[in-house]
Amino acid sequence: MSNYYHMPKLPSADSLRVTINVDGKDVVVPGDTNLIEALRSVGIETPHFCYHPHLPLSGNCRQCLIETEGPRGMGLAIACYTPVRAGMKVATPASSPKVAKARKTVMEFQLVNHPLDCPICDKAGECLLQENYMQAGQGESHVREDIGKQYHGAPEHRFEDTKGQDRGGKDIDIGPRIILDEERCILCDRCVRFMRHVAGDEQLYIAARGDHAFITTFPGKKLDHAYDLNTTDICPVGALTSKSFRFKHRVWNLQHTPSIDPTDALGANIWIDHDGGTVYRLMPRCNSDVNRSWIANSTRAAFEALSTNRLLDGRLQGKTVTRSEALRHMMEKLQSAKKVALVSSGHLTLEDNAAMLSLAGVLGPRAEVFGGSWLPVAKPDGIALSGDPVPNRRGVSLLGIADNLDQLVSRAAEFDVVLLAETDLWFADSKQAKALEAIPNRLVLSAWDTASVKAATCAVGINAWAEVRGCMVNIAGRLQMMQAAPVSPVDALEPAWQTLSHLAGSDWNEVIEAWKFATGICSPLASIKYSAIGSSGLQLPPSGAHT
């Protein structure tokens, strides 16, 4: 691997548009990118393995061949490394038998030494080798069975199978979270480039050379990094797979719901992969402006909480009650209260917090809204974590809620009711939270059976982040939307905004009503429609940043 690499140039909304000729037809494409991206922009997918929009270019798989005009007439070139030039001529397999043949040949070479064990491979269904074979490679093969294969693998892992064939390593424990199958590796070096250029910790390398090359860590060392699971996503084949997802589920059965990292204020874009009401994994969702294609292992692990320690019903003085009993109790307490402290939450969406503000409006001068968090903030890691564990901190302040939990502590004696929604103050700082125990009525809305639930006089379960639709504003002022995955453990649960609207007596049924309320009270959000947010979010103008 070379020291000097070029990152691919990706098209943007303000890319200069130029005309190129593809297969004899003129098309208009972004002028500042490579041919893979340009062709994709006009709906032509080019099969590829080594190219990744967020990794440096390597150009080693040679699968993305096209023909373009060079000094010596039309010739083969790799689309991933060929920049768009206005007026250039490009031929894809649609018009060039030469390209079709070349791609098929490369695919054949790719399979010469591949084990083809798809039936037992975890990647089956999302393997680029399978996909590209369908696109480029089908046909009669030249491979002679009797010549045997030269499987890729480290000498210490090689073995002879029952047919007498020398094999590469299988099921290698390469790290605490990842399993390596050496034979399946197609040596695209994506994982190597990820570890070197994105993670910044070179732990993987392709050793040896020629068809004896193999992917490896330093002997005796493990692949162990806070972002290492990304290598299992970008590995185009089933060479690197995640231990936690291993054999859990066939990928073609999974449904994907777009969402936002609930653990960090960068708001990395994610997919919730679920089936039959169960979430199987969280995967990165590509967003060039936020997390590119990467999420931290800690983000991935967030799905495990969705099925552990949930609060599915109500609690009254420590005893389990139904949700409606708990809600009735809360409503009574709010109505009779002299002074209510409402504690907003950066873990909830803008809609949820708007619903709290609407409740405050209903309660009038009897209510005061508090905000903030006691969770410690770390430094950004430059990849996909900002270090701030409160995902919607920026959104809460955008709604005009101050960071004033300290005041709540010092003035606790003024209140007879405190209402917390998804903010676990007793966990974040049990010493400070102790002061709140002076307030006789402590009402808690929470998806989990938390320390605050235990300290509450009355608590009620709500939906967790994966189960609700709503918006958050990330640390850079980007408005992003999470969609609800149908994975609520029980049907009775409601999102926080809905429960709060019941308490306010307004009975909103659609999240859009909460959104309308939010846009009405918050000028930076004014007149923004859900449809304007888009899958990659909407950057709010910086003026709103200091509200």
């Binding site: 020291n3 054949e108 070479f109 790719q110 010549i147 064939q165």
Partner: protein, 436 residues
């Protein structure tokens, strides 16, 4: 009979020029001073361009033109001398460095002044430790004589030269792989563009030239570009140092004017003094150049254009002659094995294709070939030649295509030795000790 052909790079052979005092007494370094430092960079590049000197590393690219691509006034410029000499059949650079290391240093000073180089490297293949020793000795002498280091000859110009020892990888002869290897990486070729002249070592402009190319410079400066251009034929100017091996009476390193008939090289008294046995074929320019049959060789001339007209190349000037007692089938397998062994493993078609082609050749040699195998080999060549990063795969195709075409009867006979077309599996032979 005395050797009467013109000598540019090998003039000092056998004269003990390894020692700086001998080299100087033979006229060496006399131009490193006023003559050189009075010339501006442009005059010098123009001078090299007018001499018609072309790269002797294999591609034959005009040297003056390559130098003119090097930008100045920006990042530091590097000169890297390519002494990785790995093309089977080639051994001239080794002898050039052993016999006349100071000529290489003088040539590097000329190139260095032309391009504003302050640090230059000589990348020597790992097996040539004796050449590394010879160069280090000569470089130390040059430092002591004030010909290297700071303010050379009072010109204000300074140059440092280091020898970088390779460690066994033919592909490091490819200029971008060489640069990666110089940077302490695996020797894998880079994607082009950018070409090294613009962005090479440490992403600085880098001039990569073969040993012989650089060693022609002192003569050109001394005698003038016209004198150099007057040697040779057509667009193949000057002399070339040939490495001749195989079935000839006196194999070795010979310099002659370009355009010499191959047969004269093989048979003349001043060169190889004749072929042993009846000539069956000649590889004219190193293992990757297509082989010539005796008939083709009979009127072939050793220059870029006439060999191109014969469908082959001058390459690195490595002539391998072999007679009818040699087995061309196993010879080809030794080459397919070589390219499979030397593929850097970076790009798919070459990594898997050269290895597969070699396994096919192995089955043929083992007497397990099939009628379709020759076509299979040609298909593989057609598949990997145009689709790779560097020309190594194409270099494998050169011998495969030419050997199987020109000596078809031998290959068919080898396949026919296998009457029942045995279906036994042939294991790929994994040798960790040798490979990794």
């Amino acid at each position: 009979m005395a050797d009467t052909s013109p000598k540019v790079c090998t003039v000092n052979f056998g004269k003990g020029a390894q020692d700086i005092s001998v080299y100087k007494s033979l006229g060496g370094y006399s131009n490193v001073g006023k003559r050189l430092f009075d010339l501006s960079q442009f005059e010098l590049i123009d001078l090299v361009t007018r001499s018609g000197l072309r790269g002797r590393g294999g591609a034959g690219f005009p040297t003056g033109m390559k130098w003119s691509f090097v930008p100045r006034g920006g990042k530091p410029v590097y000169l890297v001398v390519n002494a990785d000499e790995g093309e089977p059949g080639t051994f001239k650079d080794h002898f050039l460095m052993l016999e006349d290391p100071h000529r290489l240093i003088e040539g590097m000073l000329i190139c260095g002044w032309a391009l504003g180089v302050r640090t230059a490297y000589i990348y020597v293949r790992g097996e040539f430790l004796s050449a590394v020793e010879s160069l280090n000795k000569a470089i130390s002498q040059a430092y002591a004589a004030g010909l290297l280091g700071a303010n050379i000859g009072g010109s204000g110009y300074s140059l440092d030269i280091y020898v970088h020892r390779g460690a066994g990888a033919y592909i490091c002869g490819e200029e971008t792989a060489l640069i990666n290897s110089l940077e302490g990486c695996k020797g894998q070729p880079r994607l082009k563009p950018p070409f090294p002249a613009v962005s090479g070592a440490w992403s600085s402009p880098t001039c990569v030239n073969n040993v012989e190319t650089i060693m022609a410079l002192p003569w050109i400066l001394e005698n003038g570009p016209e004198a150099y251009a007057a040697i040779g034929v057509g667009r193949s100017n000057g002399t070339k140092v040939f490495s001749v091996s195989g079935d000839v009476k006196r194999p070795g390193v010979y310099e002659c004017a370009l355009g010499l008939p191959i047969m004269e090289m093989l048979e003349s008294e001043q060169f190889c003094q004749g072929v042993i046995g009846d000539l069956k074929g000649v590889i004219p320019g190193g293992s990757s150049t297509p082989v010539l049959t005796t008939a083709e060789a009979s009127d072939a001339k050793l220059d870029y254009e006439s060999l191109a007209a014969k469908g082959t190349m001058l390459g690195s000037g490595a002539i391998i002659a072999f007679n009818s007692s040699r087995n061309v089938v196993t010879m080809l397998q030794s080459l397919t094995r070589f390219y499979a062994h030397e593929s850097c493993g970076q790009c798919t078609p070459c990594r898997e294709g050269t290895g597969f082609a070699n396994r096919v050749m192995k089955t043929v040699v083992a007497g397990k070939g099939r009628d379709t195998d020759l076509q299979l080999l040609l298909d593989l060549c057609e598949g990997f030649t145009p689709t790779t990063i560097c020309p190594l795969a194409a270099a494998d195709a050169g011998p495969i295509e030419s050997f199987t075409k020109k000596f078809r009867a031998d290959f068919e006979a080898a396949i026919a030795r296998n009457p029942e077309r045995a279906e036994e599996r042939l294991h790929p032979n994994f040798r960790p000790g040798a490979f990794w």
